[in-house]
């Protein structure tokens, strides 16, 4: 009996140890290059990261279509939730088990490039007949200057624009926004569009800053550089914009920042006449049941909005780099119209963007597509070049300032001090 007990104890321990070590071991075929051959029909499987779900309509899923148009290849999408995207990608890169292709955010690209975790694509681009270095929007060239080489190609780009409810404007007798609108025009319109009944706001002139980018676009429009020499750069522009936002909140023209500001869309629910958010919302708003349109973000000292993109990059650990480049080359050429139509985002390749595939028309809007061109011209990669922790913390501080919980001057000073560390 004792002998049996001892044997049972040893067997149990060995089984546990083996399973633990086996589970902790890395799998060579798990996430990184999944090149596999199946007899004569060679299928090269590649994995690419993305933060949004692939389009349910396969004809608009550019990654799936790569496999359809390139027999012998398959491109699988690894979806990582947006809130954890940067963090997860950094962890995979650091651990050396990143997939074959990553869609890196601008803030991460520099770190990956500086630490040689991704490869430069200049040699591939030079030999390519489909990808032309001089056919990208100007902001992309600036990224190359920053990093010293081309480490990623922009899968598409989005700008920040303004959406407005035409029915509410008609009811209030307010003229529609134009491409030349200023902040003063915006505030004047918001005052006329806000409705208060029995002490409660039933219609806001504009929605609050549900999207963090809106804060930075406003600060940039007010004159600050946002990003300079690798660091956050805000000052008088931020103070001016925060003061304006605070006045709008105090007058109840826009809702005060609150929990789930990002989740509750007062514009879509018909409780706000305007909203300032990303151009990707065109795809979401196309099903709205009221007349709406788009305009560039209001100008202040200058026209400014933040461009958003993701850069197709090849990790240094990718086994089949040539196949990974083949996929990127296709995605940046023949795949661009599919991506534009599917996401409603403009192609960063100017010749493809000119064809207008991003113009996903909804039942009741939009029609002022020139807003995209204006936004593209004034767009810059500003706050997106900074770590998400810095910009996220800064937005929380801005919200506190707008709510009167701390002074605006102190807020801007503290944000800069924290960012400088």
């Amino acid at each position: 009996m004792k002998h049996a007990k001892k044997l049972a104890g040893i067997a149990l321990s060995m089984a546990f140890l083996v399973s633990t070590l086996g589970g902790c071991g890395s799998s060579s075929s798990e996430q990184s290059s999944n090149s596999s051959t199946t007899g004569e029909g060679k299928t090269i499987k590649l994995v690419i990261t993305q933060w949004g779900e692939p389009n349910k309509d396969k004809s608009l899923d550019q990654n799936y279509q790569f496999g359809v148009h390139n027999p012998g290849y398959e491109l699988e999408t690894m979806v990582i939730p947006e809130a954890e995207y940067s963090s997860k990608l950094n962890q995979m890169i650091a651990a050396g088990n990143a997939p074959d292709i990553i869609t890196a955010w601008e803030c991460d690209l520099q770190g990956f490039a500086a630490n040689k975790k991704i490869i430069a694509l200049d040699d591939y681009i030079a030999k390519s007949t489909k990808v032309k270095a001089d056919d990208f929007i100007p902001a992309v060239a600036k990224l190359k200057e920053l990093n010293g080489a081309t480490y990623g190609l922009p899968w598409c780009y989005a700008a920040e624009i303004m959406y407005y409810n035409k029915d509410m404007f008609d009811a209030a007798g307010v003229a529609y926004p134009t491409n030349e609108w200023t902040m003063s025009d915006f505030i004047a319109a918001a005052e006329k569009l806000t409705k208060i009944e029995n002490g409660k706001v039933v219609q806001y002139g504009a929605d609050g800053m549900g999207f963090v980018g809106g804060w930075w676009s406003g600060i940039g429009a007010a004159g600050d550089e946002i990003y300079k020499d690798g660091k956050l750069s805000i000052g008088e522009g931020a103070k001016k914009f925060l003061k304006t936002q605070k006045e709008l909140v105090d007058k109840q023209l826009i809702p005060a920042p609150s929990a789930d500001s990002a989740g509750s869309d007062l514009f879509a629910s018909g409780r706000a006449a305007m909203t300032r958010t990303g151009s990707w919302m065109v795809g979401t708003y196309k099903d709205l049941e009221f007349n709406w349109d788009i305009a560039p973000q209001p100008k202040d000292v200058r026209s400014y909005n933040t461009l958003h993109t993701g850069m197709y990059s090849i990790p240094e650990t990718t086994k089949d780099k040539d196949s990974a480049w083949k996929a990127i080359e296709w995605l940046m050429s023949d795949g661009q119209p599919i991506l534009s139509k599917g996401m409603g985002n403009m192609s960063a390749v100017m010749s493809i963007a000119a064809k207008g595939d991003y113009k996903v028309q909804g039942k009741f809007g939009p029609s002022n597509w020139s807003a995209f061109d204006v936004a593209a011209q004034s767009g810059q990669f500003g706050y997106v070049l900074l770590p998400t922790g810095i910009t996220g913390d800064a937005v929380k501080a801005f919200e506190a300032a707008v709510l009167g919980q701390k002074s605006i001057d102190d807020t801007v000073k503290e944000v800069m001090e924290k960012a400088s560390k």
Binding site: V201, D260, S264, R271, K396, E399
Partner: protein, 317 residues
């Protein structure tokens, strides 16, 4: 087996050989016991012990995940103690933990007392009280975040229906955020778990003590203070320690989706600060230093609780 000394064995007139065999049997028994314990020991070393020690090592470096680990001695700790943000997080952590423990203990104990009354539909009430506890904390937090939204939340809508149009900003007003968060904490798993433990503990209180009290003319309140509380004191201590650990460690899963540390860092507990520094700013060394501090706080608080328990916990033995 009793562990006999060599002197005792000789006294009992057993030979050296007997003693040697006896020692061998003891060693074999010990090894068998360790063999059965080894799965837990191996698991602890691999998943808790080693990470804790490695984190301590990382806290002395400037590692930023992608670069190399450069040893910087105590620089992270010096920065930490000079940081306003750290002291704010420390204050918030202690305040949140202490208040959270008191409120959740009182609430779960009160519910357990109600369930102990043995009324009709007792099982139904227990089901209702415990149901929110089985919802994952993060899902619970997101649901309440929607409910407490200033403009589109159902709480303000219902308040408007009864004539209160002020629309409080529940989670973004520093004066309201704590009561709101503590209210939500009442529905988390740890509170539900405490309820069940208290309920089981109440069943173990000897009924003869209550009978003796009734004979002596004690009223309900006196019975509660002189019988129930002392008899339940070991269970209360256990739940207090568990609640403290939950408040220190699990507050992240509640506060991150609910407030993100706001408004104005009013709920920026240490676990959130660790997450932000480590996974958003990729200051792994600094984040590890914060983790070490949190570990020490948890250890000190638990030690204080156990030390103070000598004064008010009554064990049957």
């Amino acid at each position: 087996m009793y562990r006999l000394s060599k002197k005792r064995v000789k006294y009992m007139n057993h030979s050296d050989q007997y003693y040697s065999n006896y020692k061998k049997r003891l060693i074999k028994n010990d090894l068998t016991a360790y063999a059965f314990l080894s799965p837990w020991i191996i698991g602890f070393i691999l998943f808790s012990g080693f990470p804790i020690l490695y984190s301590l090592f990382i806290s002395f470096t400037d590692w930023s995940l992608l670069g190399s680990k450069n040893f910087i001695f105590l620089d992270n700790y010096i920065s930490l103690f000079q940081s306003k943000s750290f002291w704010n997080s420390l204050y918030v952590t202690l305040l949140f933990s202490i208040l959270s423990v008191i409120i959740t203990i009182i609430w779960s104990f009160s519910l357990a007392l109600l369930l102990n009354l043995e009324l009709k539909f007792n099982s139904f009430f227990q089901f209702i009280y415990f149901i929110p506890a089985v919802v994952p904390t993060v899902a619970l937090a997101f649901a309440f975040q929607l409910m407490f939204n200033k403009d589109s939340g159902i709480v303000n809508y219902l308040l408007g229906v009864v004539g209160f149009n002020a629309s409080p900003n529940w989670l973004y007003d520093p004066k309201l955020v704590y009561p709101t968060v503590f209210f939500i904490a009442l529905f988390t798993y740890s509170t539900g778990q405490m309820l069940l433990i208290f309920k089981s503990g109440l069943k173990e209180v000897p009924s003869e003590l209550y009978e003796a009290c009734e004979i002596d003319g004690a009223n309900t309140i006196q019975k509660f203070f002189y019988v129930t509380l002392p008899a339940m004191s070991p269970v209360i201590l256990f739940n207090m320690v568990m609640a403290t650990i939950a408040a220190l460690n699990n507050s992240f899963s509640l506060l991150y989706p609910l407030t993100g540390g706001g408004p104005n860092e009013a709920t920026n507990v240490l676990s959130l600060e660790i997450y932000n520094q480590t996974f958003k700013n990729f200051q792994i060394g600094y984040g590890s230093a914060l983790s070490v501090i949190l570990f020490l706080i948890a250890a000190v608080l638990a030690a204080i609780q156990f030390k103070l328990s000598n004064k008010w916990v009554h064990y049957d033995s």
